[in-house]
Structure formats: structure tokens, C-alpha cells
Symmetry: C2
Subunit: 199 residues, 2 copies
DNA sequence: GTCTATACGCCGATAGAC
DNA sequence: GTCTATCGGCGTATAGAC
């Protein structure tokens, strides 16, 4: 926790501006269509050299951004797990979070659901080996053991449940659905929940 | 139809080799990590200049590849529609096709499900405005009208049904699932079908 | 029509003045 | 520590020889 506070403190305002600008541009135009000049302009700093005072390379910048987003998601999931005992409630909490993020921080969700991270961060773990992902699989596993969910492999349970959730959010983010994510949440939950609930 | 035959005839062997090599590399490393040198090597031709005899630019090459894949999918869907009358049977046929493609032409499916086409083809229609996509929505719409499917908007039906199907295929393609797509097909169909069937 | 050689621009990265 | 100026390299694209 001390470490966490320190990380936050050592991240200067400028650094945050750069990361925020990069996030916006990466989801908008893609990593390779975004030059350091673009990031410099969007971040409101004067030269690209400033970026190099905070990040060793463009790739390291992206890696930092990626890590921040996964960490933040990870913290939120831990929080949800702490506040809810039953796996069904934990899943509900995660779905709530994802829908809220889609409306309130669409760039973050687009980075998570649409951007192909391994294309510019070849050393990044594949999505399904990331900590948040593994935690979700564990929750489903616990739900099966506790008898709340029907007897399937947690992997398949994930595929079915989050297949629906993530696809709906993706369609909101890409503008196929014209309402806010919030509008679809209850229907999405119902459909997703029905694929895994023990009846 | 005459036009179609002519298109096929005017596509030389070399051109096909180039397109095939490009497809492989684009899904493997991404469009921007693939140079014309890479394509030249993979296609077994001698110089990059040869590529320019067949395509005006690298981007046009990618556009042609994209169009070919969508066209081919489109033809297959028309075929399925012709051979099956009921919307449920048509959906079944499309699911069969997608699972078969995942095992037999994973590059094509990866291009369809994972590659972010608009990043290098900014003028390409968004996924949900493409012909195959629209046809699928229409099938679901027809299923609702015919009373086979429960009363939902075709858009939401698509999101739920193909959310499951596509997510499972994506997880097969990325190696999260260790078996061939075929292994998961019946469970996938069942789960997806249950989200939209009228009970 | 085929290939060599090269032009040209863009971008990531850095050296070095202040 | 802040910015200017620039380097080096890569990759697309083309000119022109054969």
C-alpha cells in the first residue's frame, strides 16, 4: 500500500497528461498511426523530448499505460470480491463495473476490449493470462463449486457469460447500439446469467 | 456472374500468393509490423516491385484482401440461405460455417474476428455495416417474425447469440481453449440458441 | 515485364546548447 | 531541466536499366 501511494505520487501531472493523451489517441487512431508529435500536441507539452524525460521509448509508454489499466481493473475486482461474498454477487459487481466504465471511461474500455495490445507490446501477456482475467475465471470456478452455477468448466462459463457482456459493450463502444451501456445492462445481465446459472 | 468469373480469372496465381502471404502475416504480426519485404519473402517472389504490378499501394492490397474475405463469406451465407428455409436452420448453417472456418482457415477467421481492419483501412465500412453482418441481422429479424425466436430486437439478439459464438471462436483462435473449434460447437450452439429461442 | 537501385518522407530517438 | 536541431533508419514507392 505504501508502494501504491508512492507510485501515484511519483507520477507527475505531466506524465499523467501524456498517458491520457496517448490513451485517447491509441484507441482513436491506433498505436502505429499515432506519432510522438501527436501525443505531444494532445498532451499540451512543447516538445517530444519531454516525453523522453518520462518514458524510455514509445513502446515503454504504451506498456506503462497498459499496466496502469490492468492494475486499476485488478484493484476494482479485489474491492468487489471483498465487498461481496457469493460468486453470483461478485459477478454482478464486475458487470456493474464494466458497464459503468463503458459510459464513464469509454477510452479505457475500448483499450481493454478492442485494441490489440500484443501488436505493439509483443511481450505483454495474452489477455487470458492477465491477473484480472484469471480472477474472473476463479470466481466462476467458485460459483460452480458452491452450487450457484451449473456444472461446466469455468473456461466455458467465462466464454458464454462474458461473451454476451463484452459483445454488448463492444457494440455500444463502436456505435452499433445507440444508447448508453447503462440502458442495456439489465437485459445483458439476464441473458448472460441465464447461460451459467444452475436452474 | 460474368463479372465474378472474370474477376477470378484476372487474379493471377502470383496475386493469390501475395494475398495469401499478406493474410498470414497480417494476422500473425499485424499490418504495421509487416513490410512489403516480408510479404515478398513469404510470397516467394523476387522483388517488392512485383507487388506493385498487382496492387497500387500496400493499403490497396489490404483492401483487396478484406473485400475478398467479406465477399467469400457473403457468398457462403447466400448459399446457406438458399438451402435452408427456416431462420433457425439458417443460423445453424452459419454457425457450422464459422466453426468449420475456424479449424480449416484460422487465418481468415482471425482476420474477421480479431484484426482491427479500420486501423489500416480507415475508409472500410464498420463491421456492422458490412453485407454479411446485415444479412445475419435480417435472419434474426425473420426468426422473430416467424415466431421461432423470442421477441427481442434483432440487434440485441445478434449481440447475445453471436457474442457467445464469436467469443468461443476467439478463445479457440488465441489458444485459450486447447481443442479444435469443432469440439466446442454443440455446447456453443446450445448456449447461444437458448439466449434467443422462444420457449 | 522483370529487377536493381535509389529517392523520399516520416518518425523515433538523441546530442548538445542554453 | 528545457528545448532546438538533427541524426539514423526503415519502409513505401518509383525511376530506369535490361
Amino acid at each position: 500500500m505504501d508502494q501504491e501511494i508512492e507510485d501515484i505520487q511519483t507520477q507527475s501531472e505531466v506524465q499523467d497528461e501524456i498517458l491520457l493523451a496517448a490513451l485517447k489517441l491509441f484507441v482513436e487512431k491506433g498505436y502505429f498511426n499515432t506519432s510522438l508529435i501527436d501525443i505531444k500536441d494532445a498532451a499540451g507539452i512543447k516538445t517530444t523530448a519531454t516525453i523522453y524525460q518520462h518514458f524510455k521509448t514509445k513502446q515503454m509508454l504504451a506498456a506503462q499505460l497498459h499496466a496502469n489499466i490492468l492494475d486499476s481493473l485488478n484493484v476494482s475486482i479485489d474491492d468487489i470480491k471483498r465487498k461481496n461474498e457469493k460468486p453470483s454477487e461478485q459477478l454482478r459487481g464486475i458487470v456493474d463495473l464494466l458497464f459503468k466504465l463503458t459510459d464513464e471511461a469509454p477510452d479505457v474500455m475500448q483499450f481493454l476490449l478492442i485494441v490489440n495490445v500484443n501488436e505493439f507490446l509483443p511481450d505483454a501477456k495474452p489477455r487470458h493470462e492477465s491477473t484480472p482475467f484469471i480472477k474472473i475465471i476463479r470466481i466462476i470456478e467458485a460459483g460452480v463449486k458452491a452450487g450457484e452455477l451449473r456444472s461446466i468448466t469455468p473456461q466455458l462459463g467465462y466464454a458464454e457469460f462474458f461473451g454476451i457482456i463484452e459483445n454488448i459493450l463492444r457494440l455500444v463502444l463502436t456505435g452499433f447500439f445507440d444508447r448508453k451501456a447503462d440502458f442495456y445492462q439489465s437485459q445483458a445481465w439476464l441473458a448472460a446469467w441465464n447461460t451459467i446459472v444452475k436452474k
